[in-house]
Amino acid sequence: MSKRKKKRLLIRVSILSVLIAAVVYTLYSTLTDDERMLVKAGDAAPDFELTDLNGETHRLSDYKGQGVFLNFWGTWCKPCEKEMPYMENQYQEYKDEGVQILAVNVGESEFQVANFANEYNLSFPVVRDAQKDVMYAYSIGPLPTTLLVNPEGEVVKVIKGEMTEEMVADYMEMIKP
């Protein structure tokens, strides 16, 4: 092959590969569009600070070194209601092993949240995200959504929808320090 032909082939190969890369990138981005913008496994968990029903503030980064079981919920949401007792039970098992639960209520009144927490005797911190600030930070869609944050402050898993008690236990096991 002459030099010119070689050069030409090289140019063609590079142009075609750039084009293929662009098309593949666009295809990948489009087909995973819904997932891409969310906080997902492997990401650093965005830090936040919310106040619980007793007026105490909880900052996620204060729990570094502990696993955080971060649950987003609402009083009206049936699956949330169902999994709360499971979380409470497992909390009793795991809180001494360094697993913390933060239950983030999205946008409801203090009255409703307090009522709910009393009804289910929740002993873990229940915090209110009145301005949906934290919800947006985590791009939470439908409730309930649970994120497992490991002691290093990294999201290990995102669970959308309801959990059984076994699942709750397994997940807590996962993020135990």
């Binding site: 002459s2 010119r4 082939l9 063609r12 295809l27 489009t30 891409r36 949906k132 600030d133």
Partner: protein, 558 residues
């Protein structure tokens, strides 16, 4: 590589159709093809056509073909039209795709859904089509613009007679002084702003060459536009979020990284009114009823202190205030808020009187704010009401338990305990809209509905799109290119003085032969010669006179 040596001695690269120097046809096929086809790229070798070795070359040649490009356009066109048969998934209620099409459109709808046409424009194959068009644009343009540039740059003035004879516009004149005629024509063409080059008494007049670059410039514009479309997927370039905000509420604006907050002062709907608005609208208002005039949210924009984290009740600083209206988005930083939706008259509070049933006398009243209900409402004289439960969107009972299906106060209901001096332990009542139950037996006191407050909810879209400027640039470049190619023509006239003393005149334009003929007419006016003949026009007229109705007419223009 096989180079082609022309009779005139010039060495041309393989695949060249017309000698780059003198313009002689170099191959039999070039000789036999229509002049217009050969002249399109000045008879230059199109790179892609000269090699066919590796798979890369084959792919390259595939995308280089205009035929393939046109097919891609046509397929995209047909595919796009298929997507408009039934509404696309983004126009129908969210999450109902799997039943919507079949329920509405029967079997056709089901097929539509199964084939994925309900989400056609973001399907992988549609995107591949667009990608293929983009590839075709780049490769086909590269393959043509480079040889064309070379050919037009190295144009020789003196062309071979055979080249001139092949042109659509050509005449040969036997006259005494070709030099004089050439000078006269030159003078006239200069007035028409042709660029003239001369060489040994031969002349090339050229005008509007830059029109030839139009197609390539508009293709560059399209590529820039497509790149802009792709950049949307780069993180941070694009935000598309929705938010609902009630009158009086302050909410985080999604997509802004929790940096900005919005407070709504309220939402307004106005409709056109007869008597108030111009009377010319009366007929339409009568025919159609209420016609919306304005949708508006009045809002304040706040920025959170630097360095705050989500949820922190840091200080919010108001930085902007104004109205968000349709067609008048509220802009800040790189974001824009759009008025897109609303819900009117959502309950915000309800007032009740605590009434003694026997005397029908009120002993006190209170108001429940739905966004912040209180545990106990203390009334005077030892009366009080304790709120046991609040159900914002009451939907009925399940196992005796009242249920709420959403956090929105569409149908608020309450479980209350009414305390009075007579009943220090309280009486239990369940109250809601058109509902007043006393589950634990007859009460002495009842809550009487005393009024309701409502507020509106604004639906806003939060948008950030950093790709807009590049899309705008692409569009502008495209428009420049397309105008350049469409509104200007590349016209050339060759004049040659032959050895035996004849004057040869040949002309070519890439389009608008009508205008070109007018130029020629003007140029030859002072010479006393007829303008060079347009042979296509000639042939047609001959056929016309032979028999206007003859079938051959169809071929006359080709």
């Amino acid at each position: 590589m096989n180079e082609i040596t022309c009779k005139c001695g010039h060495v041309n690269p393989e695949g060249t159709e017309l000698c780059l120097s003198c313009g002689r046809a170099l191959s039999e096929s070039a000789e036999n093809r229509k002049t217009a086809d050969v002249m399109r790229y000045e008879g230059m070798a199109r790179r892609s056509q000269t090699y066919n070795l590796s798979i890369i070359d084959k792919i390259w040649n595939f995308f280089s073909s205009v035929k393939v490009g046109v097919w891609l356009i046509v397929i995209t066109l047909i595919a796009s039209s298929l997507g408009t048969i039934f509404p696309q998934a983004l126009f129908i209620p969210n999450g109902t795709e799997n039943v919507y099409y079949e329920e509405r459109y029967g079997i056709a709808g089901k097929i539509y859904y199964v084939l994925g046409f309900h989400d056609l424009y973001s399907s992988w194959w549609y995107l591949l089509l667009i990608g293929a068009i983009g590839t075709s644009i780049i490769i086909a343009s590269l393959d043509r613009v480079i040889p064309l540039y070379k050919a037009l740059k190295h144009q020789r003035i003196n062309r071979h007679e055979s080249f001139m004879k092949r042109q659509r516009v050509f005449s040969s004149y036997s006259i005494e002084s070709p030099e004089k005629s050439i000078a006269q024509i030159k003078e006239r063409l200069l007035k028409k702003r042709y660029r003239i080059r001369e060489e040994e008494g031969h002349l090339l007049a050229e005008k509007g060459r830059f029109a030839r670059w139009g197609p390539y410039i508009n293709h560059i514009g399209l590529i820039i536009f497509l790149i802009g479309g792709m950049l949307r997927f780069v993180p941070g370039m694009y935000v598309d979020e929705n938010m609902w905000i009630r009158e009086g509420e302050t909410m985080a604006i999604p997509g802004t990284g929790q940096e900005y907050f919005l407070k709504s002062d309220g939402f307004t709907v106005e409709t056109y009114q007869q008597g108030e608005d111009s009377e010319v609208f009366n007929n339409t208002i009568e025919r159609e009823g209420a016609i919306a005039k304005n949708y508006q949210t009045d809002a304040h924009l706040f920025k959170r202190e630097e360095g705050s984290i989500a949820g922190q009740q840091g200080e919010l600083v108001e930085i902007q205030q104004g109205a968000i209206q349709v067609n008048q988005p509220f802009k800040f930083d790189q974001f824009a808020l759009y008025q897109v939706d609303f819900r009117q008259d959502e309950y915000s509070s309800m007032s009740f009187n605590l009434t003694e049933k026997a005397s029908e006398e009120s002993v006190g009243s209170f108001t429940i704010q739905f966004d912040n209900p209180e545990k106990v409402y203390e009334l005077d004289n030892g009366y009080s009401v304790e709120l046991t439960e609040y159900y914002p969107d009451f939907s009925g009972f399940e196992d005796g338990e009242p249920q709420s299906v959403s956090p929105i106060p569409n149908n608020p209901a309450f479980l209350v305990r009414l305390f009075s001096p007579e009943n220090p332990d309280g009486e239990v009542a369940f109250i809601g809209i058109q509902r007043n139950l006393e589950p634990l037996g007859e009460n002495d006191y009842a809550l009487e509905f005393a009024g309701v407050e409502t507020r509106d909810v604004s639906g806003l879209t939060v948008r950030k799109d950093l790709t807009l400027w590049i899309l705008g640039l692409g569009g502008a470049v495209f428009m420049i290119g397309v105008v350049q190619g469409a509104y200007w023509n590349h016209r050339r006239l060759w004049l040659k003085k032959t050895a035996d003393g004849r004057l040869l005149a040949a002309g070519h334009t890439n389009k608008n032969w009508f205008g070109f003929r007018k130029d020629l007419e003007y140029a030859f006016e002072t010479t006393g010669l007829d303008k060079p003949k347009d042979h296509q026009e000639e042939n047609l007229n001959k056929k016309e006179s032979a028999d206007a109705k003859e079938e051959n007419n169809r071929d006359s223009t080709s």
